[in-house]
């Protein structure tokens, strides 16, 4: 029955449609986009269904080809993986809806390979989340990364360089992961996560385990852009095409964060990573550094996409900090922030994309009040997402902050508490800087004001196209719902993911 196969359905469907796009779109390149959007929609629907199944009847495991693990590859749908796939696929679908309005601008002739790569990226991301096999995870990681390099390199003039840098760093990261996995495999003889979990407690004194875990964390830390391993991120996000950034920023780093979380708490033991080999502490402190560094760097940026990229470094820090706390509230904060940040950053990068489409640039120093008249809804979406980034109620960002603050106090780590709260103020600085310009700065160039009404007359709502405006607004305004109903998410899903022993 196809329903019983639903855990494996998402990666397979995405992979199949990615491969078939070049064939389908031989005659008409327009089909490429339609196929990609349709596939993303199906992936979203299936992951919603999966989440419902897990919510109803608990974790589901799926054995590929009927092979029993540890020989065969196992897929695991537990509340955590079901939840994160749902987040990834919803955001991806909304971003792809938005891409429909952009496609004529940045990737004119390359639409076919582009959308094929988009689906490969999603396939890799979903696979990494769903798989219960550490080597299979590596395979999906490579699919995900290679597609990502392509998606970034297709952008502006500097994009290939940024992409090459990401490729070098990313490959080092992936190699570290593989090497670490090799170490662990040598002593355990298994690649299956559940299997390894039962064996590891016997081997905690073994230096190979220590080395393996360290290498895995470093490797994934690079992919996750954990400070100070974030060097590839700002350039890559800035020069990539808008759709790529809006896709990779909310999804890419989160998936790596998810892998770290999965490996630390579900393969290794909480006690081991917290006390015997305090990896979580290290991650927490690096993340705290990243939060401050990213926020300060974001304040210094003039280009909006670059500012948002540095802000991503900071926000990844929130997730890292939650992991570093290694207690239930920290974990809830981290996973909730995966959701919240995906929506916030998605919305913000879509606004940057709308700006570029409409004005040809997203340079903060050139913004003034005419942009508000041109793009009223985008700017409203930006405002709401910014308030959420600052962490003001009733938006979702407030509650990430709340759980992380509770977690820090629970752990007795006052420095983390200060960092979280300080970061919220730093966020206010760089977002209000933009908001002030967009809403209050009168245009310096009188010509700019004159040219606007001519264009504005064409459309009713400023100059916004509905196909670009609606996805942006949907992502941004869902932050209100996510905030107000966060307790349902936390109680229904996140409290169930807390690993035993935490």
């Amino acid at each position: 029955m196809i329903i019983q196969n639903s855990p494996a359905l998402i990666p397979l469907l995405l992979l199949a449609s990615a491969i078939s796009i070049p064939l389908l779109a031989i005659r008409k390149t327009g089909i490429a986009y339609v196929t990609a959007a349709a596939a993303a929609f199906c992936a979203m629907a299936i992951s919603a269904f999966n989440t419902y199944r897990v919510w109803e009847s608990g974790p589901i495991t799926y054995h590929f080809g009927g092979w029993i693990p540890p020989i065969g590859i196992e897929y695991v749908l537990d509340p955590l993986s079901a939840f994160v796939t749902l987040v990834v696929n919803v955001v991806a679908f909304v971003v792809l809806c938005h891409a429909g309005g952009l496609k004529d601008r940045e990737i004119t002739e390359k639409a076919t390979p582009y959308y094929s790569l988009v689906l490969l990226l999603l396939c890799g991301a979903n696979g990494m989340i769903l798989t219960g096999d550490l080597f299979n995870l590596y395979v999906f990681l490579e699919i995900f990364s290679l597609a990502g390099y392509g998606l970034i390199g297709i952008g502006e003039k500097q994009a290939p360089v940024a992409s090459f840098r990401y490729l070098i760093m990313g490959t080092i990261g992936a190699s570290f992961y593989l090497l670490g996995l090799g170490f662990v495999y040598i002593v355990t003889g298994t690649l299956n996560m559940a299997d390894m979990k039962t064996m590891l407690p016997l081997l905690y004194g073994n230096p190979a385990v220590t080395a393996g875990l360290t290498l895995i964390v470093i490797g994934m830390g690079i992919k996750m852009a954990l400070f100070p391993l974030h060097g590839w991120l700002p350039d890559a996000y800035t020069y990539a095409p808008s759709t790529s950034t809006a896709l990779i920023a909310p999804i890419g780093t989160k998936v790596a964060a998810y892998v770290i979380l999965r490996v630390l708490f579900f393969v290794f033991d909480v006690k081991f990573v917290d006390q015997t080999l305090p990896v979580t502490d290290l991650i927490g402190w690096l993340a705290a550094g990243g939060i401050l560094f990213g926020s300060v760097m974001a304040i210094a940026q003039r280009e909006m996409k670059r500012m948002l990229a540095y802000s991503s470094v900071a926000q990844i820090g929130y997730i890292g900090l939650g992991i570093g706390l290694a207690n239930p509230l920290g974990l809830i904060g981290a996973v909730l922030h995966i959701l919240n940040h995906a929506f916030m950053k998605g919305a913000l990068f879509l606004v940057a994309a709308n700006l570029r489409k409409n004005a040809g640039h997203s340079d903060i120093s050139k913004l003034d009040a005419t942009y508000r008249n041109r793009l009223p809804w985008s700017m409203a979406a930006f405002t709401l997402a910014a308030l959420s980034m600052i962490g003001l109620p009733p938006t979702a960002g407030f509650f990430s902050k709340w759980y992380l603050a509770l977690g820090s106090i629970d752990k007795g780590n006052w420095v983390f508490l200060v960092v979280i709260l300080l970061s919220s103020l730093l966020n206010a600085v760089y977002f209000f800087r933009v908001l002030e310009k967009v809403y209050l700065l009168p245009p310096t160039d009188p010509e700019a004001g004159k040219a606007l009404p001519k264009l504005a007359r064409r459309r009713a709502v400023g100059q916004e196209e509905y196909s670009l405006m609606i996805p942006t607004v949907v992502l941004s305004f869902s932050l209100l719902l996510l905030g107000l109903w966060n307790a349902n998410i936390v109680k229904g899903i996140l409290q169930r993911i807390i690993p035993p022993g935490m």
Partner: protein, 500 residues
């Protein structure tokens, strides 16, 4: 202390939501100014009647509760219209009606830009103020408190001049910092007690806490709510925020926003820490000291201001600390006095701000040194101004006298003489900085005769009304709203039935 009689009611919810519901209507009627203003007025009238409907219950000690849903496991977004909440909500919603009429006169008189944004933000502010008044727990309180911070911002920068934008920045720096400190305090409290529910007499129960923890926690709370309450040295956003249009200064920076801060102080003192903890760890002395210093310094600084609104702002800072002082002394009469001053200062100060706005609209004058002889051009306005000024100096029969009297009594009940001295000195200082204004207005001759007379009736009627209200409440504090009875009930509940 008996448990209050709780009953589930949607009234608090409606009272909060009604002005929020008016926001889309206001935004949709941008092009039809009269319809837009109708929504504001309708919302303010409905809001006030809803709050008024809660009054009988509050007087009988019955408490309306309404729970939305959980916003964090174990903590719900919940409203509870207890006596203190109803007390504050009555003042804010009642004065909103007058401010709405006045606002219409003001923005039309000056032909202000972006009036829709103005009225919409105003409505959101009032919603969050009601939310603050009725919050049943600390997280709900923070929830509405932060919304109020953001909703006030567009009003502060309304003029969009350099001064206004700088004032907006300053305002955000102060209030957002306060917000995160409050979050830290709430999170910490939650870890210690496992509850955030406000409880008359304190929520820490018989938890044994070390002095350093209690003091740090109290300081966090104090900075959190103290910024909006204008406790020195956290006050300096308030004079800067006078860059806002005058109705905003009148309602928000004399009533809703700053009183939310003071209300927060009362909540923290009476419902989070409770009298026992406050006295045991010397927190009340600390708070009283801050308040006393603020009262004196703010009054002294007020002398230096030539801008009328700035002088009023410093006067506000001083008077807010009267209330804080009343809360800090924690004697029955001082609490009653402090609470009464929430209402009394509101009616008096809003009168003064209304007058400042009327002068600005009719004659475009903002400086005190330019007001020579204006009393003849605007007899009603300046008459009302005199009533408010006399009241703030604490002269009967205006209501300012009553709250000051109670505060003085309270100081003696607490066995302290210093607060009494501070009150007396501050009264003299108040008289000192208001007298020159009245003197110039009525006794000096204008260098150039005034071209206009009074401002539009939409402005003059509300300000005369609030002046009249100040006098009436001074003659009978239980008039209409039973402020005195409410204050006694609240004071009794905080002190555990030991009220007068």
């Amino acid at each position: 202390m008996t448990d209050p009689d709780l009953y589930i009611s949607v009234l608090p919810f409606y009272a909060v939501i009604v002005s929020l519901a008016a926001v889309p209507l206001i935004l949709m009627s941008t092009r039809r100014a009269n319809l837009r203003e109708f929504w504001t007025l309708a919302a303010s009238l409905v809001k006030f009647s809803l709050v008024f409907a809660l009054l009988p219950g509050a007087l009988e000690g019955r408490v309306a509760v309404f729970t939305f849903w959980e916003i964090s496991p174990g903590i719900a977004l919940a409203l509870k219209a207890d006596t203190l909440g109803v007390f504050f909500a009555l003042i804010a919603s009642g004065l909103w009606i007058l401010t709405s009429f006045y606002s219409i006169g003001y923005v039309r008189g000056l032909d202000e830009h972006k009036q829709t944004r103005y009225f919409a933000s105003f409505a959101v502010c009032l919603s969050s103020t009601m939310g603050i008044a009725f919050s049943a727990n600390l997280l709900s309180f923070i929830f509405f408190y932060e919304i109020l911070t953001i909703a006030t911002y567009p009003l502060v920068i309304h003029k969009e001049t350099k001064v206004a934008i700088d004032a907006g920045r300053k305002y955000l720096v102060y209030t957002l910092t306060a917000g995160v400190l409050l979050i830290a305090a709430a999170a910490w409290t939650y870890r210690l007690t496992g509850t955030l529910e406000f409880q008359a007499g304190g929520l820490f129960g018989d938890l044994s806490l070390s002095p350093s923890v209690v003091t740090t926690l109290f300081l966090l709370f104090l900075c959190g709510v103290g910024v909006k309450a204008g406790i020195m040295p956290l006050h300096s956003w308030l004079p800067a925020a006078m860059a806002a249009p005058t109705p905003v200064s009148a309602l928000l920076h004399a009533v809703a926003v700053v009183k939310s801060g003071v209300f927060g102080v009362v909540r923290v003192v009476g419902f989070v820490f409770g009298p026992e903890l406050m006295n045991q760890f010397g927190l009340s002395t600390m708070l009283a000291l801050c308040a006393g210093v603020t009262v004196i310094f703010a009054s002294l600084l007020a002398f230096r201001q030539d801008n009328l609104k700035h002088r009023l702002a410093y006067s506000t800072v001083g008077h807010l600390s009267y209330i804080v002082l009343g809360a800090a002394l924690l004697s029955p009469a001082s609490l009653v006095g402090g609470l009464l001053h929430i209402a009394n200062h509101a009616t008096m100060k809003i009168t003064l701000f209304f007058c400042a706005g009327a002068i600005y609209v009719a004659h475009h004058k903002e400086k005190i040194s330019e007001l020579d002889g204006i009393g003849r051009a605007m007899p009603w306005t300046m008459g009302a101004f005199t009533v408010g000024a006399v009241g703030l100096a604490g002269v009967p029969p205006v209501n300012g006298f009553l709250s000051k009297w109670q505060l003085g009594l309270g100081a003696l009940q607490a066995g302290e003489v210093l607060p009494l001295a501070i009150l007396v000195v501050s009264g003299l200082l108040n008289a000192g900085y208001f007298a020159p204004i009245v003197y110039r207005a009525f006794l000096k001759k204008a260098a150039v005769p005034y071209e206009h007379g009074e401002a539009a009736p939409a402005m003059v009627v509300p300000l005369v009304f609030t002046a009249l209200l100040s006098v009436l409440l001074g003659l009978n504090p239980d008039l209409f709203f039973h402020f005195y009875r409410l204050a006694n009930i609240i004071s009794g509940s905080i002190l555990g039935g030991a009220g007068p």
